[in-house]
Symmetry: C2
Subunit: 473 residues, 2 copies
């Protein structure tokens, strides 16, 4: 339901959703395929440190924990109530929660507005608002944080620790991101599924993430935005202090209907241009595909903004260089020739390539490049005051020592990190390249398996710089 | 150098490049970091069955094999000569090769036209043409085939067996594709790096691939096309019997220069529209990014064409459905509502989803979907005569049995393969999804880690159908 701005009491209480001292799980089942069982199993398995209170009127114990008939019967204060009971029972649970003065309620249950029960959902939402009890959901998977070993919902993975706050309306896409996090070392600060977002809205999680120390990038998957103005306010209040990345679906003809059927999101009468304008006002960076959404979030979470567009690309593969420079131009940020960026750098960098290398830009140090040639070329480029950012690429030729080059790249990155120049890597190929990407990411360098992904990352860092400039003028 | 059409003597001799009985390696070095050493090492390591003759005027043995001072001294017929000596020695080697009547010569050596020695390169090419000795290269990494355990060049990987012929002007991108082949089970029939393509051109490898039984899809990475008409002829001669996929780089302002510096490719005065027109005439499907190039090649190598656009998407994740239907529309092939495709199918498929599922299209069987529900929904959809193709998606919710669903999907695919309907899968997430993708690919189903990639694959299958229709009219 629409709001005009992020509500302070909601933002203040979100800490009880993401870092609660005590949780009551209503609908805590004894049967291990039920959602209510999975929630408690997940909390225990991942190492939640707070107190867990199962609520089940027909059980004495659930998962080895004493169960209570209602929330009111629990002899303790409750920060968070997680609800996994059928829709018709939810109103009663809300009344109990208000009586118990809990801080936050999360409703996982489906079958509300998304199947036509809009009035029921609105009534519940209004009841919560009247009683200042923030409600997350309904129709969601849960939330958590790897920093707190906190995994609350029916969520099979915990992501690795990192700097991206992942705020997703879709449960399945959130889970996909968490799986990717583990496999590809995409680090997160916290994550939450919003589902139908009846009460607590994107904007309030954005405001919360602005204050969260672990978060450096705020990434938001949106199916429908009830409160565009509140969204813009939440993004602009922090004056570009942290980048906000969005992906908006449901804009296609059939997508309008699918988004309603999924999370009761209303997209009638809106199109891509409508949302482009909102994100432009908000200073949010919009991704088109899921891959781009993850890729640019990673870069914005790890690297500083690109202050001007003098990027130098260094590669041992002319083909990866070509894919990159074409993509830079396609995305309206063409590379500059090296001799235009810094004539002296052309000569300096030529010392680190064979005769058939090319000091253009992309700088092709050729397939024979040794770790020492990589070191020389990267060092010359990053130290040059005319260079704003470095895009490196490692192609696995038969003479490329991929692990050694990876280590050298990490050394150079650390040595010159104080210069504040963004550093992005690409490493296309098989297993050894995947391992290189993982290691680079673990050391704070956004690294990708294709040229175009790395270029998208660099372009996002430039977009963010322009957004920050708006506030500094 | 320009040609007007694929030359028959070249096409006929390409079997000696990809399946030679005997190879002379000129510049076979005793030092293990040298290209000439790596070539012999690779041939032996991967299990080449033919004869290998090192040529080195200063060595008696190389890699345990008797070495010869020149090609002429070898007491055997030679199918293929692989040359890895400095540029100024190449002319002499060509003369020896002509005298010896070898079938095919491959020049790995760099530093020809790409560094300004265009006249030298043209002279060598003309000499080969005058003597009907086809020359591949110069400035390339090599070629091979997993079906023959043949890996000839300085190439650290052999791909897994499959149906895509990978013809790449760039060595580094070829190597990346080979690495990806192993890691992500992207199967190839053969592969070749063309480098400067001074003599043997794309068109001749395309003509060869049209006849190669292992090849179902012909994929071509292009930096510059000297002979567009010959390319069109090679593609159209087979009347769409096999799909041809292209990616063309070097179209950006700086890319024009970079493509020349890399493989002496000439792109002055050409732009993306120029190549769009050529590929349109050729009936080739053009990819924009490297990822798309691989993704659509995989699908076209494994699946039949999509005869009409009535695709049904079945997913357990509403979010992946939304990413997909938006992307279908963005790429000008919007999904149709299920009730428009087949009203009866709506009711049949509803039996396999909970109340909060959605029989729209995407069909959302919801995050609680069991393997049996997947089976029911997929079976109903694929058997419906109004349905032209299936796009399936598996999202790893906490109750999704990803391996069991994967097995069921494979069973259904096999059972109904005779219907000739394309079948594409998406499985977004972590390790278990990656494993599912590998298994699906191993069973002939193109499967991808993001929604948009799967959509691109399906759209390519539709494009190919339209290309085939042209020839059947």
């Amino acid at each position: 339901m629409k709001i005009d701005a992020p509500r302070q009491y909601v933002v203040d209480n979100l800490k009880y959703a993401l870092n609660p001292s005590s949780i009551a799980v209503v609908g805590a089942s004894r049967y291990d395929m039920k959602v209510g069982y999975k929630v408690i199993e997940g909390l225990k398995k991942w190492g939640y440190k707070g107190k867990i209170y199962p609520v089940n009127p027909r059980a004495e114990f659930v998962h080895g924990l004493k169960a209570y008939k209602t929330i009111i019967d629990i002899p303790d204060e409750i920060d968070l109530v997680f609800v996994a009971v059928p829709a018709h029972l939810v109103k009663m649970i809300l009344e109990h929660a208000v009586e118990k003065k809990v801080k936050m309620i999360v409703i996982a249950t489906s079958a509300f507005k998304e199947i036509g029960r809009g009035e029921l959902q609105n009534n519940l939402t209004q009841y919560c608002r009247d009683n200042k009890l923030p409600l997350i959901g309904p129709n969601l998977v849960g939330m958590g944080s790897p920093y707190l070993n906190f995994n609350c919902g029916f969520i099979p993975y915990l992501p690795i620790r990192g700097s991206v706050a992942m705020i997703s309306q879709s449960g399945a896409n959130l889970l996909a991101a968490l799986g990717t996090s583990q496999m590809d070392h995409f680090g997160m600060s916290f994550f939450v599924g919003l589902g139908n977002k009846a009460d607590v809205d994107f904007c309030e999680f954005i405001s919360y993430a602005q204050q969260d120390d672990n978060t450096k990038c705020i990434s938001v998957y949106i199916e429908g935005l009830d409160s565009p103005d509140a969204f813009v306010k939440a993004c602009t209040q922090a004056q570009g202090k942290k980048p906000v990345v969005t992906i908006k679906v449901g804009g296609s003809q059939i997508g309008v209907k699918a988004a309603f059927a999924h999370t009761a999101s209303e997209n009638e009468g809106t199109d891509d241009a409508f949302y482009d304008e909102i994100f432009e006002r908000a200073g949010a960076i919009r991704a088109t595909t899921w891959q781009e959404f993850l890729d640019i979030s990673l870069a914005l979470g790890l690297q500083p903004e690109l202050k001007d567009d003098k990027v130098v690309m260094i590669t041992n593969g002319g083909g990866s260089g070509l894919l990159s420079c074409d993509h830079f131009e396609r995305r309206n940020m063409p590379l500059h020739e090296l001799k235009e960026i810094s004539p002296k750098l052309v000569e300096r960098i030529r010392a680190y390539m064979p005769m058939f290398g090319s000091p253009l830009n992309p700088v092709d140090i050729s397939g024979t490049a040794s770790p020492l040639q990589y070191k020389g070329a990267f060092t010359q480029a990053i130290r040059d005051p005319n260079v704003d950012g470095i895009l490196g690429s490692i192609c696995p030729t038969s003479v490329t020592d991929v692990p050694a080059v990876t280590d050298i790249v990490i050394d150079i990155y650390k040595k010159y990190k104080h210069l504040g120049k963004p550093f992005v890597m690409e490493c296309q190929g098989g297993e050894e390249c995947h391992n290189a990407i993982i290691k680079l990411r673990d050391h704070g360098i956004p690294a990708y398996p294709t040229a175009e992904q790395a270029v998208n990352a660099m372009i996002a860092l430039r977009k963010y710089s322009k957004i920050k400039e708006r506030y500094n003028q």
